[in-house]
């Protein structure tokens, strides 16, 4: 199993797109904190920003594009055509002839993804929160370690969510478009919370409740409950993806 995980780590980190996800995901949040610093200072000074306990942690959201890209390409790179000479040929053939036990393969892929994203999330969280402390330290309480850990968990679960959807769709474009639009341009999940309180339990919305305290939320959900609900989403989608992956012809 160790050699399988090593192989999957090499595969993932050998893809240029993975580095786009790693670099973007890691840099976006700290850059936003830096760019927003003058505005944030003014808002605090003017008294329009009174609840500063989420500062820094809330900024981590923009970096989620990183784990989304990573989660999707772990799967989509297997299904990409390897060349114009053989349009039906894909890396998945090489992967499954090397590792024919599909569930073991998925276990190795999942482990590799979790390791990479957890490392990325830890670095990003530490850098972003340290930067927030340096810039606004006198106004912002240092966040509890559990909240930082919850943010890292949120990133990791988001990557696994993207990965599970890609396993089901066997393609990168659909899940990536959906997830990125939903997390940046128009948050369909957020809009739905305006329609029904049930939407508060959608994975991306509920997951953020693990570490965001802000009050603009229709339903009170405790952090641990939030974590369990998001984990349940991920486990359910992964189970569907795994069953399909196990049964499908390549």
């Amino acid at each position: 199993m160790v050699s399988l995980v090593r192989a999957e780590l090499r595969k993932l980190l050998g893809l240029p797109t993975a580095w786009v996800g790693l670099v973007l995901g890691t840099l976006l949040a700290p850059v936003v904190v830096l760019l927003n610093a003058p505005y944030t200072r003014r808002a605090i000074a003017a008294g329009t920003l009174t609840d500063t306990s989420d500062l820094g942690l809330r900024d981590l959201g923009i970096g989620l594009i990183g784990p989304m890209v990573l989660g999707v390409i772990v799967v989509s790179s297997e299904y990409t055509s390897t060349g114009k000479d053989a349009p039906g040929a894909r890396q998945l053939t090489a992967t499954l002839t090397a590792v024919p036990d599909r569930l073991r393969l998925l276990a190795a892929k999942t482990t590799a993804l979790v390791l990479v994203v957890a490392a990325q999330a830890s670095v990003t969280a530490v850098v972003t929160l340290t930067l927030t402390q340096v810039l606004h330290g006198e106004h912002v309480p240092a966040p509890a370690l559990t909240r930082v850990a919850a943010a890292v968990l949120y990133w990791t679960l988001t990557a696994l969510l993207a990965y599970a959807i890609a396993l089901i769709t066997r393609n990168g474009i659909v899940p990536l478009t959906l997830l990125i639009i939903n997390s940046s341009v128009v948050s369909v999940s957020y809009l739905l919370t305006k329609v029904t309180d049930l939407a508060a339990y959608l994975p991306d919305i509920v997951g953020a409740r693990m570490f965001i305290r802000g009050a603009d939320f229709p339903v009170a959900i405790a952090p641990v409950t939030a974590g369990l609900v998001m984990t349940a989403w991920v486990v359910a989608l992964l189970a569907v993806g795994a069953v399909l992956f196990q049964r499908r012809d390549v």
């Binding site: 390897t82 039906g88 090489a94 024919p100």
Partner: protein, 237 residues
């Protein structure tokens, strides 16, 4: 040793394989011959555990492919394309495959040398010509120094020198005691290298035997093939 026993496969509503049975023995080159769409690739994909059959068994050295431990050390497979992601260099591709089967990194450069791609180790697979892709695919198949080789249309896309090289390589492999199973729709090519021939048509095995048996009273393997598969001159094309 490859043993395929009464394998049937349905895709959608169409049955594409009907009770396909044959063997490929060690020390021999077995040619799997049939027109395009006859079921050659489907049979090989079932043998390699990529596709599932509805019934029957396909065994390599007595075990189904998915039950092989570190399968690359038993079987080397060459299917369509190189299997390498376009963005990866030849060496990076070979190294992850090697790692997945617990093989050392040094094998990557060794097999690149065997197939004559040493000078292209750092080139991305997406920039390879068709012939180079086939060589990279073959290099991947050879990583684990396997005793069984399964190759789908291995000479497709190779230039004349490449075809001769492949022919000699496969003959040598069989001479060293390996089991070599290759599919082809090129009769002339197969007649040059196969010891045994299996002919498949419309999902059914029509004949199985050594080259002389299959050729029978016909002048060439090609004549025998066309008679067996009842393809009329000027027919399908």
């Amino acid at each position: 040793m490859i043993t395929i026993d009464r394998v049937s496969k349905t895709k959608g509503r169409t049955q594409i394989l009907y009770d396909v049975s044959f063997e490929a023995r060690p020390g021999r080159v077995t040619g799997f011959l049939g027109p395009n769409g006859a079921g050659k690739t489907s049979t090989l994909r079932i043998l390699l555990g990529l596709d599932r059959s509805q019934s029957g068994t396909a065994l390599i050295c007595g075990r189904p492919y998915p039950k092989l431990d570190r399968p690359l050390t038993t079987v080397g497979a060459l299917l369509d394309g190189s299997g390498a992601h376009r963005a990866r260099t030849a060496r990076a591709h070979l190294r992850w495959v090697a790692a997945s089967n617990g093989l050392p990194d040094s094998r990557a450069d060794e097999v690149l040398e065997v197939v004559g791609l040493t000078g292209h180790a750092r080139k991305r697979a997406g920039r390879f010509s068709l012939g180079m892709s086939r060589r990279l695919g073959l290099a991947t198949a050879l990583l684990g120094d396997p005793e069984v080789l399964v190759l789908d249309e291995p000479v497709n896309g190779l230039d004349p020198a490449g075809i001769r090289w492949m022919r000699e390589f496969l003959r040598d492999s069989a001479a060293q005691g390996r089991t070599v199973l290759l599919s082809s729709h090129l009769m002339g090519e197969l007649a040059e290298i196969a010891d045994d021939v299996i002919v498949i048509d419309k999902g059914r095995i029509v004949i199985h035997g050594d080259l002389a048996e299959v050729t029978g009273d016909h002048r060439t393997l090609e004549d025998a093939f066309l008679a067996l598969t009842a393809t009329e001159a000027g027919g399908p094309w």
